[in-house]
Structures are given as C-alpha cells and as structure tokens.
C-alpha cells in the first residue's frame, strides 16, 4: 500500500503485449562468490498481489505479475539482464533466445520483407516439455498467435489488454514441429516482441481444451496435473503451466505463491533452488523489517524513499535499475493557460528537478532531456543533440513577463495575471495539478512543484484533489481523468511496454489517438498533442525494419516533442530491488525482475 502505484503505468500503451526488459546504463551489481550450490529456498516479497496469473498482457498488466510468473513461463525470446546488454546495442541485442534458438533479424535472414508484407521465421528449441509433460512444438506458437488475433480478431472472449500489433498478423505456418513462420500484413518494426517474454507462448493443448468449450480462458475450468506441482481443476488464472525452470505449486491468495524446481527443465543446468516463494506484503515497510529480520530474502520494487534505510543494512545488496520511462507531468494543451508555449516553457524552467532528484530520490537517477522518448532500453534511438533545459527561475520570470503575464499584487495575491484578450483575458494564472492519490513520493513532489511554481508567479490550486490510480488512468468511455482530458497538469510515470521499443508511445502522441467521441474514445493522447512532424515520425518508425531508419524517425519525434513541450519530464523512473547477500546469481532487469531464477543460489 505504500503508495508505489507506478506499476499501473499503462503497460498497455503501445500494445506490445507480453514483454519486458533491460536497461542501458546498468546500475546493477552482481556479487558472485564461490560456485553455485544446489538446494535451498528463497522468499521474495512483493507488495502487489496479482489478481490473476494470466497476467502477461492477457487480463492484467502489472509489473509485479510479470515477476511472479517469470520463473515458470517462457517466451520465444527473453529479455537480457541489464549487465548482459553490450555497449551501443542494437534492438536485437536486448533479447536472447529462449524457446527459439536465435533472434530473428533482417541481417540473419529470418525476417524477410516482401514488398509491403513480411515473414518472420522462428526456429524452435528441441526437447522442451511443458510442466505437465506435453512436448513443446510449433503448434504452441501457432495457437498462441491464433489466440491473440487470428482466431478471434477483436472479439476475444478472454479480456485481452491489447491487440495492437497482433492485428498486423495474417497467419502462422508450421512447416515442421520446430519451425514457425509468422506472416505480417505490413512491414512492422516492433515485430520482435510478439511471442517473447513471460507468457510469450501459451500451451496449445490447453488452449484447444478451452476452444472446445466457450473459448474464454478466464471462465473454463481445466484439470491440471503438474508432477510435483499443482494438481487440480480450476480456471486458467488460478494456475499456470509453462516450460520454465520453476513450476507452479500453489497460490494462497492474500498470502503467498509457491514455485518449485522443474527437474526436467531444458536448460544447460538444473535450477539450483528447490523453491521460490513469493510472499505478498502490501507494505514495503514491512518488507524492509522482514529483510532486516531475515524473514524474506528479497524485496521487489522498494520506494526510492527507502534507499537510505536500505543502505544501512550490511547483509543486504540493493540494486537500482533505471527504467525505460520517466516520471513526468502531462500538460493539457487545450487548457487556456497551458496552450501558451511561453507558460509551458516557464514551467519547465521553473521546477528545480535536479533538487527533487538529489533529495527525494537520493541522487539515484537523473533528469532526462526535454523529450524522454528514448530512455533506458530506448537508448539506441536517443537524440545525440537532445536539449536539456536547466532550472532557471529568473529566465522563467522574464519569459512570462515578456509574454504579458504580469505580477499582480492586488488581484492575484502576488501571482501573475494573464494578458488581456482571449482566451485567458486577464485572469490570474492558476493551474491544477493531479497525481495518483496516496502515493507518498508523488504527493511530496506535488507540494514541492507547487512551491517552486509559486516563486515564478504561477499558482497551483491547493488542495490538489488527487484521483486514485484507477480513476486517473481510467478509459475515455469510463470518464478517466487523463483520457477525458479533465486535468490541467497530471503527474505519473509512463514506460515502454516492451524493451527498446518506442513504438509503445504511438498511441500517446499521434494525433489520430486523441480520444474523443468522434474517434470512439480511441488512443491515449491525453495532452492533445497534434503535430504533423510527430505523426510522420511515429508512422515512419512503425513501418520500418532497418534500425538506422527507425532511429532517424524517433530522433525526429524527440526534436518535435522537445519543441512542443506537451510534458515536463521530471526524472528517469527507477526500480529498486534489495536482497540478502547470501542470495547469489541475481541479475537485474528493469521490466522483468525475476528473469534468471534458474541461476539463483543460496551461499552458506
């Protein structure tokens, strides 16, 4: 409950549904001593219990859920740990083969462009078995793609978070048991993430059982027998059958989830641990206490505020993973004041973001460039000449004064009044700021920002009247704060839904994605960004496969966005994971926290 609701950060944004992964500038520390030992168990605490185990992109999109299912469920590719990503990476360098045997690219010939369509060939690993003993084959790949799109189009009875991208798939061929060819209707740049990551591939034999009934995997009960693991009959969201190094054993809701070693795992070595228990502790303070008292071995996703108490724990290693996204303030470009670029720029200059980073975030992260489109795993497309606006209240004051906003002691209590004439017509310069309610860090930021802006004569309405995360991020059709545009400034974090893929923000910036009655409420462009340069860049980035072309597109997008200022990026978001030093072999990954559980072991 400790506020960190950031994981509700709209993973559904770009639509790359089931994936995740590594950052560029790794702050990861991996201490290894001695050789791995078999045996032992590890307890990991998570403050957010998933509602369903069908997490990865099917019905739910929480980062914690990805972590929980990570050791059991696999995909064609998996996201590399931060430390394993080479310098100056290509997009494909963020991935490594898992159920496939190599990463398909244009260069290695597995991606073939034919005019306006393309084919991606996946070569599959031999000798892999599902936890219930069935062999893994190309049928599983075909059925998974069928499930997402081909079979149902957009009428899937199972609530699917996003079908974007999947709707570009025209079909899957299986020339043999270990080859699957995915046919794309268009040239689709972000192809690599489809079928990758945890829950990337679902078991064909179970999908068939559900399809024989209603087709809704959240409703149909199946009987499941995992030797050594879960045995029983229930709907898919109460268990999971994967191919990973650990098998699902039990889920006691409200308390814990148990994963046990898979002795038949396909990897080069058997997993070292016997069990991994995920304990659900809603309060990260309790997690900190339990970490001190050795009740848990690892805590996922600590608040930045706990960095300093964590640093005092001798027996604990703290890993800080920079995310591929930023904490930022969206500006509503249709707001009477904010539609004036001078005001937006003054706000950008008037907030001491470095001070927020240095104090509230313990200097563990950085202030991003003016467009934060290519942070973290997006480093490959970072604009080399990106602008970094500095904190300069004097310049902000001058800017506002020159734009006609005069300090008005009588009418506005020392704040500024706007110039005469439409649309603000001399009114006092006052804007509202909202964020997710109950999030301690954000509420601190809110107070600090309001106090900074007061110094340049911009009044922020107080009290803030923050909506809960569910309300803030709610859909247009349901009156969500962001998408019905009923905000002036809104502070939250947005990050990629898949590693290294800025296409995730297509729906956030492109003008056709401004939700309105006219477009049936589609898209997540909450700021009313409507700019031909941005539209062209995102469309170009989507339909290109050559990395150089894609990079140029996103550099153009960054330049345009930095010019428009639809958002104020505050800092690069970060993930904090802390674990007992006796746990060895952990490698961090900012999307996917329990990525390499087979390599974990307990030293004496």
């Amino acid at each position: 409950m400790t506020g960190n609701l950031r994981s509700l950060r709209l993973l559904s944004l770009g639509g790359v549904a089931g994936v995740l992964l590594a950052a560029c500038a790794g702050g990861t520390t991996t201490t290894t001593s001695g050789s791995p030992k078999s045996g032992g168990s590890v307890t990991v605490a998570s403050w957010q219990e998933p509602d369903t185990l069908l997490a990865a992109g099917v019905t739910d999109s929480m980062t914690h859920a990805y972590a929980d299912v990570g050791p059991a469920m696999e995909g064609l590719l998996r996201a590399k740990a931060v430390v394993d990503v080479p310098k100056n990476p290509k997009i494909s360098d963020y991935w490594e083969p898992q159920l496939a045997t190599n990463v398909p690219t244009v260069e290695n010939g597995d991606v073939k462009v034919n005019g306006t369509t393309m084919d991606v060939t996946w070569k599959l690993r031999h000798g892999v078995k599902w936890h219930d003993g069935m062999p893994f084959t190309s049928k599983d790949v075909k059925s998974t793609f069928d499930f997402w799109w081909v079979k149902y189009k957009d009428k899937n009875p199972t609530p699917v978070i996003s079908t974007s991208g999947w709707d570009q798939v025209s079909g899957v061929d299986t020339p043999d048991d270990f080859t699957a060819v995915v046919h794309w209707k268009s040239i689709f740049g972000p192809y690599i993430a489809f079928g990758a990551g945890p829950y990337g591939i679902l078991p064909d034999h179970l999908l068939q059982q559900v399809w024989a009934k209603s087709g809704d995997i959240t409703k149909e009960k199946l009987s499941i027998a995992i030797p050594g693991g879960f045995n029983g009959t229930d709907t898919w969201d109460k268990w999971m059958v994967g191919t990973g190094p650990f098998m699902f054993k039990e889920w006691v809701t409200g308390d814990h989830l148990t994963l046990v070693k898979n002795p038949h795992w396909w990897g080069s070595h058997q997993p070292y641990l016997d069990t991994i228990t995920v304990k659900f502790e809603p309060d990260t303070n309790t997690q900190l206490a339990d970490l001190r008292t050795n009740t848990i071995d690892m805590g996922l996703d600590f608040r930045a505020a706990l960095l300093s108490p964590l640093s005092h724990l001798d027996a604990v290693t703290t890993t800080i993973l920079p995310d591929s996204g930023a904490e930022k303030i969206d500006l509503n470009l249709h707001n009477a004041f904010l539609q004036d670029k001078a005001v937006r720029q003054a706000i950008l200059m008037g907030i001491d973001r470095q001070k927020i980073v240095d104090t509230l975030l313990e200097s563990k992260t950085t202030v991003p460039p003016d467009s934060w489109l290519c942070l973290g795993t997006g480093g490959w497309c970072q604009d080399p000449s990106a602008t970094h606006t500095k904190f300069d209240p004097a310049a902000a004051q001058t800017l506002l004064t020159n734009a006609g906003y005069k300090v008005d002691k009588d009418k506005c209590g020392g704040m500024r009044s706007s110039p005469a004439g439409a649309p603000t017509n001399g009114k006092c310069l006052e804007v509202k700021l909202v964020t997710t309610s109950g999030n301690a860090l954000r509420e601190q930021q809110e107070v600090v920002i309001a106090s900074d802006l007061k110094l340049i004569g911009v009044k922020v309405t107080q009290p803030f009247n923050n909506p809960r995360a569910g309300k803030l991020f709610g859909s247009y059709s349901n009156g969500g704060t962001l998408y019905t545009h009923v905000f002036d400034m809104a502070m939250y974090t947005n990050t990629y839904s898949g590693p290294a893929e800025p296409d995730a923000f297509y729906a956030g910036y492109v003008s056709s994605q401004i939700p309105s009655d006219a477009n049936q409420g589609q898209g997540q462009n909450d700021t009313f960004t409507n700019d031909a340069r941005v539209d062209a860049a995102f469309n170009k980035g989507r339909v290109a496969v050559a990395q150089a072309d894609r990079k140029q597109a996103y550099v153009d997008a960054q330049k345009a966005l930095a010019d428009i200022i639809p958002e104020i990026p505050l800092y690069q978001q970060l993930t904090v994971i802390a674990y007992n030093k006796k746990l060895q072999g952990f490698k961090g990954n900012d999307f996917f926290w329990m990525n390499n559980a087979e390599d974990w072991y307990v030293s004496s």
Partner: protein, 325 residues
C-alpha cells in the same frame, strides 16, 4: 425454543432486505458506478462501453436492476457478483479469506474473555480500590486508542527494536505463516499474538467494565446476601453463586459487538498483513472493485444478524429465567 428461533429468523429477513436495498442504492447514487471496472481498459471505445453496459444489464432501470440483483442474491448458491478484476466470484474470494478472519476473531474472544472476566471480577469485589481505579482509567484509554497506531508501535517494539539490539524478533511483523510453515499451528500462534492484542485491547477494557458492573449488580441481589448471611466464604460466593449470572449480559454484548469486531479486524489485518476479509475489502476499495465491496458487505451483514441471533439464543439457554414464546 424452535418457534422462537424461527420467529427471530423471520424477523431478520426484513432487516437483510433493507440492508440490500441500502447498499444497492448507495452503489447507484455515488459518483463511481458499479460497472466502473468493466470499463477500466483505456482502449475501450464508446461502442464497447454501450455493448458492455447492455450485456450486464446496467442500461436497465433501477428497480429492474435491483430485482435482478436480489434474484441472483437469493438463488442457490447465492450469487454475490464477480470481481471484474480477478474474474473470481465474490463468494469464492470470501471463502478463501473468511476462515483467516475467523481465526483472528476466535483469538479475540479467547484473549478478551480470558482477561476481562477475571479483571472485571476483581474490580467489582474490590470496588473503589486502586486496582479498580486503574481498570477504570485503562478502560478510557482503551476506547480512545487508535488501534492502527497501537499496532504500529507494537511492531516497532516487538520486532524491529529487539532484532536490531538482540538479533532476534520476539514476534513477527506480519503475515499469517512463515513460508514453509503453512499449516503449522505453532507458527500460526506466533503470528497471531500481536494482531490478537491489537484487536482485543479496546474490548478488554470495555468487557471488564461491563463485567464489573454486571458483577456489582448481582452481588447486591438478595440471594447473594442470603449466601453471605449463611456464612459462605466470599470467594465461594463470588465464583459459585454470582459468576454465572453476572456472565449473562456479556453474551448480549458479544452479539452487539460483532460489527465493531469486523471493523477492528479490518484495521488489524491491514496493519499486520493478515490475509482476511478486511484485507480483501481494502484491496477491493483500492481498485474500486464495487462488486466485491458490496458482496463482502452483504455477507458481513448476514453474519452480524445471525451473530446477534445466536447471542440471543445462547442468552436464553444460559439463563433459565428467560422463557421463549
């Protein structure tokens, strides 16, 4: 007796009916509608919205929706709605959590009665003594204590500070079991101590005051005077003759207290990460999962009504002076 019980059950029905009407009306009147979660996905279009609302019948008039709601509620097995988040029925969610809350409440009754009865007796026998005054003051502090804060202080005192200075924790910070110890009663007991204290502390104060005055009433009655006059030892008079009758009002109090007990359990479960009904409710509140919220409230209300009924019946069973007609 059977007739009486039957009549009480029949009396409970209108109350439950009114409760359902109140709760249903609240969900309709408040800003966030019960279908909010169904429209959670930011990708839903307006056409989707209309389709979903129609599918679930939310486009129908109020009275018809209430009628359908009651029809589901009164069917067998009762249908308390389905969480649009976890896709589980409210009933199955409750079934997972209710036993844990009952464990907590059971420990509450044991701790409270075991402490408050002796305290109340001593305070009554030694009326106006220092002990009595202490109990009086304690009762006031007890009912004024914010229990979430008290729980927090206990965690610091019994888990954090001992571990920092002694290297071990006297009691755990929260949870119901340690991993690998699920089902171990000793492990459960160890986890239960602090939550049970927090849940009981206010009631120990209240129950012992209640016990004290009830004991004083009985001690002033003629048959006790007679017993004393006959030369019986005071201890025997109190324990043998007065105790039974002075316990009777406690039964009623226990019945009336049930709603408060659920409230206490909600907060205790939150402080100590106890996976019970209160946590289920709180989690649902964080997500605005109104189906679960209302379902839990309906069930709790039923439990309260029947808890009161049981208390009444038990009262009559314990007190032969009461006759049921």
């Amino acid at each position: 007796m059977t007739k009486y019980i039957l009549r009480r059950v029949l009396q409970a029905i209108p109350v439950l009916f009114v409760i359902s009407l109140i709760l249903f009306t609240i969900t309709q009147v408040l800003p966030d509608k019960p279908w909010a979660l169904l429209l959670h996905n930011p990708r839903l279009t307006l056409a989707d919205r209309a389709r979903i609302l129609h599918y679930y019948g939310f486009d129908q008039p109020f009275w018809l929706q209430y009628f359908l709601y009651m029809k589901h509620l009164l069917s067998l097995p009762p249908d308390l709605g389905t969480s649009y988040f976890s896709h589980q029925t409210t009933l199955s969610l409750i079934r997972e959590r209710l036993p844990n809350t009952l464990v907590l409440m059971g420990s509450f009754y044991i701790v409270t009665l075991a402490l408050s009865i002796p305290i109340g007796i001593i305070a009554a026998v030694k009326q106006y003594s220092k002990f009595d005054n202490l109990v009086t003051t304690g009762a006031f502090v007890g009912i004024s204590l914010p229990n979430f804060w008290f729980g927090l202080m206990l965690i610091i005192l019994f888990a954090v500070i001992p571990y920092e200075h002694l290297g071990f924790k006297i009691f755990p910070t929260g949870g119901m079991w340690d991993p690998g110890h699920v089902g171990d009663p000793l492990n459960l007991l160890w986890h239960l101590v602090l939550p049970a204290i927090v849940l009981s502390v206010q009631s120990i104060a209240q129950y012992s005051r209640f016990m004290r005055s009830s004991m004083l009433d009985v001690l002033n009655q003629d048959y006790i005077r007679t017993a004393r006059a006959k030369g019986l030892a005071e201890g025997r008079v109190v324990l043998r003759h007065a105790l039974r009758n002075s316990l009777l009002p406690l039964i009623t109090l226990m019945g009336i207290e049930i709603p408060q007990l659920f409230v206490g359990a909600l907060i205790t479960e939150q402080v100590f990460a106890w996976p019970g009904m209160g946590r289920l409710f709180w989690d649902a509140a964080q997500k605005t999962d109104i189906q679960v919220l209302v379902g839990v409230l309906v069930l709790l209300s039923v439990l309260v009504v029947f808890g009161n009924l049981i208390a009444d019946v038990a009262y009559g069973w314990a007190d032969p002076r009461i006759q049921y007609r």
